[in-house]
Symmetry: C2
Subunit: 475 residues, 2 copies
C-alpha cells in the first residue's frame, strides 16, 4: 500500500486555493484553436504551461509544428516535458490539450466564459475548466504537492500537451510517430485525462472509444447567391437538394439509413451482454446532462450500448446557407452539409466511407438535379478498444478506490480521442483513460464547468495513480 | 410631346460624373439594416439623403419610428420630402429605400462592397448601387438636372425613403396608413423604382408582384448543445427532425409538396396564355443572371410563368446549427429552419398559412419525435396586380420609348415589394413600378452592380416620366 498518500492528500487540500488560482489563470487565456484571431492566445497558453512546468523543475521543450495547411497561420507548439529521469522508476507518459472550444457570452453563458467563476455549489464555470485545462493542470498540481510536501515523486513523468485538439490535432500524429521511440522511448504506459465519468457519482476508467468520420456534402448550382423573389421557381436550388440528402441519412430514433453500415458492426457476445447492468448509470443522470427527456431509449442498457458499441450519425449543420436570426430571402448558391458517423468495432474507415459515398451519391441521383454534388470525408478516425486487465488499469483502479472510496466502473465512451490510438501504436504501450470531470460538465457547451470536488480529488487521484503504478508488479 | 426633354437630357449627361460621385458617397455608407452594429450607419444614410434633398430645395422631415420591437435598437427614420407645391401640377409620390443587404469582402466580392468601383465596361460595383441607392438618388439627380438647366419641374414630387426595407420595413406600414390622407394626400399616382428589367436590353414597366410568406420551423430538444461523441445515438437530435421536415416541402423541380397550395392558384386565361411569347426574355439571359444552366425549365414561357404566376418555395437556411467552415461535432439543441413561399393570385395569406402549418405539423408528427416543434410565419405579404392601362403607366411607357428608343415590356415580377400594396391601399391611387437596373445587377448577391448606362439613362427616364405625367389626360 503506497505509504506517502496521506501526506500527499493533505498537501493537495492545503494548496487547493492555489490550484484553483492556477486554473483561473489558464481559463483566462482564450486559447480557441478553431478561430484564427485567437491563435496568439493559443500560443500564449502553451507558453504559460511551459513556464509553469519549468518553475516546477521539469525540463520543457516547445515543439513547433510549422504552418497550418490551407491557412496563413502557424500551428501552436506542442509542450513536451519530462519530470524525473530515475532509471529505477517507471515512466508514465501523459497527454492533454491546452486549447478549447469557442465560447461567447452571447451564446447563452451565465458567466463570462473566459473568467473562472466558482459558484457556492462548487461548480467552477469557465471554458476549458473541464476540457481539458483542469486535467492538464492536475498533473502540474500533483508535481507541486509532492514538492511542497517533500515526498519523492514515484515515477518519471513524460508530458505531451497540444494546442490543436479541438480542431483536428493538426501535426500531432506525425510528432508522436516521430517521438514514439525517441522522446517517449522509455514510457512504460500512457495515461490520458480528457474524458468524463458516465454519471456524477461513480468514477470510471475507460478502455474503449468510438471513432469519428466527419463528412461534407457540397451542393452547388448558381454562380452566386440569388434573390428568391426573382429566381424562385425557375432555378433548381442547392438547399432543396441538400436537405433532402441530409434527411435520408438517419431517422429520429438514430437508425442510420445507409445500407452497409450495420453489417460492419461486431455482433454482441454473451460476456458483453452481461456487462451493462452493473454500470453506475441512470436515465435520470442522462436526462440531467441532456437537459431534457428526449432520449431515443427509455432504458439504461440500450442507451449504453447505443453510446459505446453501436455507430451513430449526427447532422451538425450547413455552411453557406442563411444562418443568422431574422428573415433573409436568399437562395444560397453553394451549401455544404456536415454530418459525422461515430464508428465502432469492426468498422473500417475505407469501408465506411465507401457505403457513405454510395448512399449520398444515390440519394442525389434520385433527385434528378442539374446541380453539382460532392461528398467527401473532412477527417476520419478509428475506434479504439484496450485491455483493461493491464497493470496500468489496476493501478488506476486502486487509486480510484483509495481516493473516492468506491471501485471504478470500467467503461467505454461514445466520443473519439484519436490521439489514443496514435499513442498506442507509436509507443506499443497500454493506454488508460482516467477522467477527472463528471457527466454534467458540459464540455463543448455553454456553461462548461468542473466541480471543485472533482478538481481537487482528481489531483489526488492522478498522484495516487502514479504511486500505485510504482508498486504494480511487472507482468 | 414634352418640349424640355432635350435640354434636360444633355444636362444629365453633363452632370453624370457628379451623379456617380453622389452614388459613391451613398455606397460608402454601409447602411445594413439587418445588422445591429450597422444601425448608426443606416441612420447616417438617412441624414445624408435628407441633407442632399434640403440642399436641392426640398422640404424634408426625418420621421422617427421609435424602438425596433424585440431589440434595444431605434428604427432608422423615414425621409419624407416634398419638392414643389404648385396646385396646378400633378403630384407624384415616389418611394425607395436607403438601407442595403449585408455584404463582406470575404463573401467573395471582387471589390470592397462599400466602395463604388466603376469598371471599364461600365459596371459600377457596390452594395446598394442598384438596390436601391442608385434609383433613390435618381430622383434627386432629376431634380438637380432641372435646376441646373433652369427647366421648370413638371410635377410636385412627394418622396418617401425608408431605411428598413431589407429587414421587413418595420414601422413603415403604419406610417403610410397614417399619412395616406395627410402628407401623401395630394398624390395623384405612385411610382416605385426598386425592381429590375427582365433582361439586359429591353426596359419594362411592372404591374404585378408575387407576395411572400416567410416561415420558421423551430425544433428543440436538449437544454444546450451537445457533443455528438457523448450523446450521439442516445438523444433524438433536432437537426435530424428538421432536415426531414425541410426535405418534405419542395422537390428539385420546384414542385411544392404541400397539399392545398396549388388549389389556391388562379387558372390561366387564354389572354394571359398569349402574353408571354412577346416578352424580351431569353433563357440565355437567365443563364447569365444565374451564372449557371441549372434552370428548372428549358423554355421561356414555362420559366416566365413560374416566376410570375405560380408560387415557389425556397429553403433559405438554418439558424442554431453549425454554419462555419471546418468540422464541429456538435448536436445543436435548437435549430430554426427558414423557408418562404412566393404567393400569387388568388392565394390568401391565412389560407396559405393554414396549409403550411398543417403540412409541417403532419410531417413532424410522422417522425414520432420527442422533440418540440413550432412552425410560424415570420412575416407575410400579399401579391399585387395593378392596371397597366392607367395614365401613370402610359406616361412611363412614352418616357421609356423616348429615352431608350423601344416600347417597354409590361411585366410582372417574382419578387415582393410589400410597400406597393400598402401605398395602393393607403392612397387609393395607381402604383407603377419603374425599374432602373437590369437583370444581371445581382441585388442581394456578391458583386452587386448598376451599369453606368442604366444609371444615367435611368435618371433621364425618371425625369421624362414626370414630364409625360404632366401631359397625360386625366381619365
Ligand atoms: Zn478534450
Ligand atoms: Zn473537447
Ligand atoms: Zn430593394
Ligand atoms: Zn433588396
Amino acid at each position: 500500500m503506497a505509504p506517502n498518500l496521506d501526506s500527499y492528500f493533505s498537501q493537495v487540500d492545503n494548496l487547493s486555493d492555489h490550484f484553483i488560482e492556477r486554473l483561473r489563470q489558464a481559463v483566462a487565456i482564450p486559447s480557441v484553436s478553431s478561430e484564427a484571431a485567437r491563435r496568439p492566445d493559443v500560443v500564449r497558453m502553451g507558453h504559460f504551461l511551459a513556464d509553469e512546468l519549468t518553475k516546477l523543475g521539469a525540463s520543457v521543450e516547445l515543439r513547433e509544428l510549422g504552418p497550418q495547411p490551407g491557412t496563413d497561420l502557424t500551428l501552436p507548439p506542442v509542450v513536451l516535458a519530462r519530470y524525473g529521469s530515475d532509471e529505477s522508476k517507471r515512466t508514465i507518459l501523459v497527454y492533454g490539450h491546452y486549447d478549447v472550444q469557442p465560447a461567447e457570452k452571447s451564446d447563452g453563458w451565465e458567466t463570462e466564459p473566459f473568467e473562472l467563476t466558482v459558484k457556492e455549489d462548487g461548480r467552477m464555470l469557465g471554458r476549458g475548466s473541464t476540457d481539458d485545462k483542469g486535467p492538464v493542470l492536475g498533473w502540474l498540481n500533483a508535481i507541486e504537492a509532492h514538492k511542497v510536501a517533500g515526498i519523492d515523486f514515484p515515477v518519471n513523468l513524460l508530458m505531451c500537451f497540444e494546442g490543436m485538439e479541438e480542431y483536428g490535432s493538426e501535426g500531432l500524429e506525425d510528432l508522436i510517430n516521430l517521438e514514439g521511440k525517441k522522446y517517449f522511448a522509455d514510457a512504460d504506459a500512457v495515461c490520458i485525462s480528457d474524458n468524463y465519468w458516465l454519471g456524477t457519482e461513480r468514477p470510471c476508467l475507460t478502455y474503449g472509444l468510438r471513432g469519428c468520420n466527419y463528412y461534407s456534402v457540397e451542393v452547388s448550382g448558381p454562380g452566386a447567391d440569388l434573390h428568391s423573389g426573382v429566381f424562385g421557381g425557375t432555378a433548381q436550388e442547392p438547399m432543396t437538394d441538400l436537405v433532402r440528402i441530409l434527411g435520408s441519412l438517419v431517422d429520429t430514433d438514430g437508425k442510420i439509413q445507409i445500407a452497409g453500415i450495420s453489417d460492419q458492426v461486431a455482433p454482441i457476445t454473451a460476456e458483453e451482454d452481461g456487462l451493462y447492468d452493473g454500470i453506475a448509470f441512470t436515465m435520470e443522470t442522462l436526462h440531467e446532462s441532456l437537459g431534457s427527456k428526449t432520449t431515443i431509449f427509455e432504458d439504461k442498457k440500450s442507451t449504453l450500448m447505443a453510446r459505446w458499441r453501436y455507430p451513430s450519425l449526427s447532422v451538425h449543420g450547413i455552411e453557406g446557407a442563411f444562418s443568422a436570426p431574422g428573415a433573409k430571402t436568399v437562395i444560397p448558391a453553394k451549401v455544404i452539409g456536415k454530418f459525422s458517423i461515430r464508428t465502432v468495432p469492426n468498422m473500417e474507415v475505407d469501408q465506411t466511407n465507401a457505403v457513405v459515398y454510395k448512399h449520398v451519391e444515390e440519394a442525389f441521383k434520385k433527385l434528378g438535379s442539374k446541380n453539382t454534388m460532392k461528398v467527401y470525408a473532412q477527417h476520419t478516425g478509428k475506434w479504439w478498444v484496450a485491455s483493461p486487465n493491464h497493470w496500468n488499469f489496476s493501478a488506476a483502479a486502486k487509486a480510484t478506490e483509495r481516493v473516492w472510496g468506491v471501485k471504478p466502473d470500467f467503461t467505454r465512451e461514445g466520443g473519439s480521442i484519436p490521439v489514443t490510438i496514435t499513442f498506442e501504436e507509436a509507443t506499443g504501450k497500454n493506454v488508460l483513460l482516467l477522467p477527472m470531470g463528471s457527466s454534467t460538465d458540459g464540455a463543448h457547451s455553454i456553461n462548461e464547468k468542473l466541480d471543485k470536488r472533482n478538481y481537487i480529488e482528481g489531483i489526488k487521484l492522478l498522484g495516487a495513480y502514479l504511486h500505485y503504478v510504482a508498486e504494480e508488479a511487472i507482468v
